[in-house]
Amino acid sequence: MTLPAPDYCISLFFLFLQVQLFSRNDPFPFTMIELIDIHKYFGDVKALTGVSLQVNPGSIHGIVGENGAGKTTLMKVLTGYIHRTSGSILLNNEEITLHTPMDAIQLGIGMLYQEPLDFLQLSVLDNFMAGNERFSPETMSRILEKLSKRFGFEMQPDTPLHLLTVGERQQLELMRLIHVGTRVLILDEPTTGISDEQQELLFSALRSLRDEGCAIILVSHKLDEVDALCDQVSIMRKGTIVGHQQQPFNRNAILQAMFDTLPQKETAPARHQGNKEILKFTHVCSSNGRSGLDRISVTITQGEVIGLAGLDGSGQTVFLRIAGKLLEPESGTLQRFAAEDNESDSTDSQTVFLPADRLNEGLIPGMSIREHLLLADETPLVIFPETGRQKAKQAIDKFSIIGTPDTAADGLSGGNQQRLLLALIPTQARLILMENPTRGLDVQSGNWTWQHLLDQMPDNGAMIFASPDLEEILDHASRVLVFFDGKILLDSATSDTDFDEISQAITGRIKACS
């Protein structure tokens, strides 16, 4: 018997190894991060009850669930922002202890927040360098340039951060996390408030990171983006995981696991449109915001639901804030309501503005539901502990807010905060202005919001909302105004336009309307 030649043995060994390693579809067959039976209690409130989850390297794992399901709490536990009550976290099969976010960063776990946690006063490069032990602007500038090229981002190191859009700030934060060695990347609702183009750039960057072996966890309530990006999805409900799925996902099964009933889409009811002017902009200019407003002239009449589309910072926000008299136009004239209406009631009490950043701009943290309603209403001169309690209870019932009259606004989940904001809209409001009304809301809460808004809108009023979600605009608005660089490029009834035309206008590929 002859023994095989040594080189033949070596070739055989490598062949065996190749068969073992690449016979599976998954190129990274090991679990990178594992959460075992995680519990988190805040006093008597059980935020997480026995959550177990495995995330593999080289995969994008979606976490979906309605508002208040515990997704954000789970991610905060994983990044060391809050401490778990019990349970274990394994990283590459070794148990880890996370006392602070710094511990997580050192272990390669980083999180990209819905609102990036950055320093608006500093430059792009300063932000990129933040947290680095060594101070070497030239080297870091080169690294930033290299990373920007790699992901297809466009970023100038000297640009002050406050001039960047939320999407661009996210891109910068993503590069910073990659630079500090993040291997487990968590994204919390990353597409909220960013344009479609920025979303595509972000998705392509995430796919390339996945291919390099990063484990990515995507927290979202948008099933479309989970479908487009994730390899697996876990569904959370009431603080625990209620289901897992692999691609291809069964959307109905996911929705059923998330909610008691399948959400139904609300469509705008037919509404009588009159000729009475509700809002009239005549050659209005402003230098506020990124693009300002450039001689905007538009008339909005009663019964109209106007959707404002455009890239983040194209002028929609400034438009809404000028309409709400939160900003003054630098030139041009603004008229709210027809002249004869102004005599009967104050125009201010007939106009309401709901900002996108509910807790920072719309509600008052530390103040209760009762106090919010007292402030919004005709506040009595003298207030006793029982003043407004009955009204608050009625509003809680009517708006299905999960809380009591004494619950603080910052103790409510995102969906309930939105419900509280809606409860604050005065009954006499005729001009309702909203920035991204369903921001951060799950499908169920979003639908509820629209149902309520459309039901409550008076026939002699109008509603204007800005949204980065074109579907939302096409579903609920009767007319769309598309902003680009401070101008209105498209002004059309939603029945006379389509997704493609609006998309083209958003990116400035059509001529400005007269």
Partner: protein, 349 residues
Amino acid sequence: MLMKTIQQHDLTHLVIRFFCITGLGFGAVCLLLFTLHLSPITIAKSMGSGALSNWIRISHMLSIWTPLLLCSSGLLFTFRAGLWNIGIEGQMIIGAICTTAVLRLPQAENSHALFPALAMAAGLCGGGIWGMCAGILKNRGGVNEIFGGLGLNFVAQGIILWLIFGPWKRAGIASMSGTNLLPHALWLTSPAGWRVAPVALVLSCLAFLLTALLLGNTRFGLRLTAVGKNSKASRLFGIKPELIGLTAMMLGGGLAGLAGGLQVTGVYHRLIPAISSGYGYLGLLIVMLAGYRAAAIPCIALFFACLAAGSIQLPIMLQIDSSLSGVIQGACVLSALLVHGFQTKRRNT
């Protein structure tokens, strides 16, 4: 998921807070005294007897409590509006100057009933206007109220020194001991054996009760709280944060000015350079220790007044410098800040 009810949160929070601060503060002070080979019990006894052993001492302690209560009440308005009224010392000084100015008028000596009341009103208005100056600087000039207030403190200090060493100097002498004594008839009257004027006590208590009522049970108080917690959002409720802030500064300054006026008419009976005696700054600590709420302020102010009054006994009885009371105050404030920071951290994680 995380539901927080304000009332539940407050009660447990306050009880835990009280015990933690007391324990930590006393622990730190005892440790310090032990390292200096001093008995905490002896010190406590000496300070206690210095402040509370007889009516004269108690009334002396109350004469310190009065301006502390007024300043703290004023600061409640500004803190509630989210403003740091560091300029409170200056407002007290200007109040004292305005009171003195009215009482120095030649007509004052002929109208003993009217002029002390007018002088108090002048102190209130003077302090209020000085407080408004910091507010206007903030609203119109964008100057942070801390820097504006600090600057105005220096200006007020300059004015009082100029008056004492210039136009209002004693005949032939200009010294740090202040102006001439006011005519006795213009002093706030105190019964024999009292070191505090009952009018001052009543005014302070009334001012405190009115403050608590305004903040806790009125539309103005609710709006003030809304502005302090989120001025941006308050605009959406039709509130004008600038106007509310200015009103808070005016009220805070007014009460500090009244405290300054009472120091002139009820305690020193003249204008002295150190008329504010640092009570404004002490008021800041009291309000912070009270968690920016009215309820605990009288007790905390009383504790600080006891410390200040009782410390006078330390050099006499134990040959220890009276600045020890400052160390105790510092230990209490640091403990309070530590406990507050710890509770906030725990709540966030």
